[in-house]
């Protein structure tokens, strides 16, 4: 095996939680296949992140640290990642299923002529090749795939793989940053990060989600209050998004985001199959709905059959009392 390379995503000098998950999974695969784990860091000031990366088991850390890379550049980052693949002769390249990871994964795969397995939720080393599991039809089914070729690119679904600290050699190598115009065909001209204190849906360990039963956009304050008590993200069903109550970025389901938090609290969501597809892999599901026949109760671990406008505030009070 020619080694494993993980692209560790960061923004604004902060490593993403899913980057640590990818490094940890890379470490486990490197151990199972008896190969080395390299990690690639690209950005401005990323040299300061190497200690953090080493603590998750990286053998070698390749850094492209340049002020010109402060703003994400799809072509530039893809070029530098491709350079790193060549330097390391890595056979398995792991990224995260994020906006950046999906884009770079596809660019890289096309550049090196490798298959791309997106959104994997399981990876195992089977004597001499990689076997992965990934959801298709929005999680209504899973595919198990064997990698036959010498190299493959995969993106890991956030919140699925464990991030665990493990000592690695963490030796550092600087990458030469030489980009030409052909690497700058796509320009990110503005990045606007929300100042929300709430976590991103796909990264959140708790999600409180509201559906048609919310009755209107003005009622989401009770969902937001409960979310803030848990430090949770706020989600919505397609019905709520199509009604214009919540932005599409909040939509969970087959035509929205697929999430797998530790706890998913569905409030006033009936549980249409396309919604279940996006959240059924959550570790624990709570359903609050006044209709005892709602399909959401079939996949919920815990349910309360009652009006959400009574239950959600009560849940918030109880959570505050118990958690603080």
């Amino acid at each position: 095996m020619n080694g494993i390379l993980v692209f560790a995503e960061q923004r604004d000098g902060q490593l993403k939680s899913y980057a640590l998950e990818a490094i940890s999974e890379g470490r486990r695969l490197a151990d199972a296949s008896g190969s080395n784990l390299s990690v690639c860091l690209i950005g401005s000031g990323v040299d300061s992140l190497t200690t953090h990366v080493a603590a998750y088991g990286a053998d070698t850390i390749y850094t492209a640290d340049d002020s010109g890379l402060e703003t994400y550049s799809p072509g530039g980052y893809a070029k530098l990642l491709t350079d790193t693949v060549e330097l390391t002769s890595a056979g398995i390249i792991l990224l995260s299923s994020s906006a950046m990871g999906r884009e770079l994964g596809a660019l890289l795969a096309a550049k090196i002529g490798a298959s791309l397995l997106s959104d994997i939720i399981e990876a195992t080393w089977d004597s001499d090749h990689l076997v992965v599991k990934r959801p298709v039809y929005a999680g209504k089914a899973f595919l198990k795939l064997a990698v036959k070729s010498a190299s493959v690119v995969a993106t890991l679904r956030p919140n699925v793989f464990n991030a665990e600290e493990k000592s690695g050699a963490g030796s550092e190598q600087s990458l030469a940053v030489a980009l030409d115009d052909s690497d700058k065909k796509v320009l990110v001209t503005d990045t606007a990060l929300k100042s929300s204190s709430r976590p991103e849906l796909t990264e959140a360990s708790v999600i409180v989600s509201g559906g048609r039963g919310m009755g209107g956009p003005e009622n989401y304050n009770i969902i937001e209050t409960l979310a803030d008590t848990f430090g949770a993200a706020v989600g919505a069903s397609r019905a709520a998004v199509d009604a214009g109550w919540r932005p599409h970025a909040d939509q969970v389901g087959q035509t929205g985001k697929t999430v797998s938090p530790n706890l998913y609290i569905a409030c006033g969501i009936s549980g249409a199959i396309q919604h279940l597809a996006g959240m059924s892999s959550s570790k624990c599901i709570v359903a609050i709905n006044s209709d005892p026949e709602a399909p959401i109760f079939k996949i919920a671990n815990y349910g309360i059959v009652a009006d959400l406008f009574d239950v959600v505030p009560a849940l918030n009070d109880a959570a505050k009392e118990l958690l603080t």
Binding site: P74, S115, A141, S151, H248, N301, Y302
Partner: protein, 251 residues
Amino acid sequence: MKIVVCVKQVPDTEAKIVIGGDGLSIDSADVKYVINPYDEYAVEEALRLKEAAGEGEVIVLSLGGEEAQPAMRTAMAMGADSGILLKVENAALADGLSIAKALADEIKTLDVDIILAGKMAIDGYGHQVATMLGELLGMPVLPTAKSLEIADGKATIIRDIEGGKETVQANTPCVVTAEKGLNDPRYPALKGIMQAKRKPLEVKDISLSDAGVEILEMSYPPKKPEGRIVGEGPEAAAELIKLLRDEAQVI
């Protein structure tokens, strides 16, 4: 202005998925198929670009079996001018790079100004073909656009990223993929549906290059243990919180 829109025929979002006898793919017998919802945004955007330009041609490109034709006819009923079907068998979950290569080979023969596609297909969930296609053609790619403006030979999109938004720009010709919110697709009018039947649809038999991965099996998601109803009123809230902390240990 020549615009190519890539579309795919996929099971409806409400479809129940049943694994077929081969254990590797779904049983399509009772499944209702529709045009991939994200591709519908791409078709709508192509039509709007053509309308805004006051001239042009929208070509629908698909790769799949004969069953891909209804999605193409839907796009034509919306207003696309013609279609090209790259015909292969068992394309539903084929390797993304193989598909991108085949599409690129076809598009190379057309002198296009812009290529539009959905950000992903809701069957395979690959999120990759259009981005690979751009890279293979040497064209810039602007994925997951929630808005698109084309002016002075430049395409500018806004897309969601984790925790915010990005504005991204490239010269045309380029590839743009559509996210929900890009537009509100029109419904085909009866007249459009009738006209679509007579629009040219060329079918070309092709074969895909070998994939580097092999499907071993398709399976259902693991069954969840039976859940329980904690209560039927707000008084159950305290009990639920205790269960989440002590039993499920998720808070």
